[in-house]
Symmetry: C3
Subunit: 138 residues, 3 copies
């Protein structure tokens, strides 16, 4: 049984940024053919998601829905030091994912035909996010 982990540095803007290629790159580099791939984001105002990568409208609609559900500047929020998008980002991250796992078969992630792996940036502006990819297997 072998393992390998690498940290991807992902440049983001508000919304979804696909990282499937970067995750596959770590898997290829590991030489592991059968096993488990874990993706972990080291942040609390950005999150992970596995979703459809065919129609870009899905990504726009996901962002629009979540931003309506968790509005920036909600008067309920008291943690507002970094602006209107600060606390809403933490809530959005809480409602999506910090870690994802994808089994590996024959050297490939077992993603479905339409599935891609995404970082979901919840803050305004440009950011750089660290994502740890860990692969374990044989």
């Amino acid at each position: 049984m072998q393992q390998r982990s690498e940290t991807l540095s992902v440049s983001t803007r508000r919304g979804l940024t696909e990282i499937t290629g970067g995750v596959r790159g770590v898997l290829r580099g590991s030489g592991i053919r059968e096993g488990l791939c874990t993706i972990f984001i080291r942040h609390t105002s950005a999150s992970l998601l596995i979703q459809e990568n065919a129609d870009p409208a899905v990504q726009r609609d996901l962002e629009a829905f979540l931003s309506r559900l968790v509005p920036d500047g909600d008067p309920l929020f008291t943690h507002v030091a970094e602006g209107d998008d600060d606390m809403s980002s933490h809530v959005k991250a809480a409602l999506t994912r910090t870690s994802e796992q994808v089994p590996v078969r024959e050297g490939e992630l077992v993603l479905g035909t339409w599935q891609g792996v995404y970082v979901w940036e919840h803050r305004d502006g440009r950011h750089r996010r660290e994502v740890v990819v860990h692969v374990m297997g044989e």
Copy 2:
């Protein structure tokens, strides 16, 4: 250290379909006594959930709540090619889970007394969904 993975083909209707038995079957077949079990769904309009399997009212209430929170045919949605339940399904999957992990002890999943593993179908009609179960351990 050993591992085994199998794909379950799950027949679904809108709402929750329990797959605890199928997951246990893969674990039994693996012969693994101590380790980690990963469940992964290869779809973006159906998702996974670990929830109460005692009172069926819990499953009905979960479906009712999520369908009120994320209404079919929300005028916000632009990805509507496959109908009113298309984009709402993607959002519901984003708010629940694509992968789940359950540690294994003495040949059993460490699920709590009332926990079952479910596929949550978000589309109308009948569907067949692929769920990969991966077990790693000794």
Copy 3:
């Protein structure tokens, strides 16, 4: 490849209770330096979350937001045997996490600077919750 699992017994009140120290304790006890740590909660009315552990206002705001989104005693709910906070707790658990995974490097969880691991208690009153921590690696 080695593994170890332990069950933490966590005393909770409604809201977030940090368990990062307990998870680290299991990791230290395992002697594992490179690998994967899985955290699993054996309940359906309490959940897990990895979120900011710096400003306590984040935790209060998370609880306030989720309790407004999923109100106790919602007339939609039919599973009400244990009171107004019964079904709302199941929904809140469904919208957050039952399992979390954190890769391990050089004997440490790869948590970001501001990340802590929490049990999120959704029921009123005091409870005791079982959290299984499983570490696998070398």
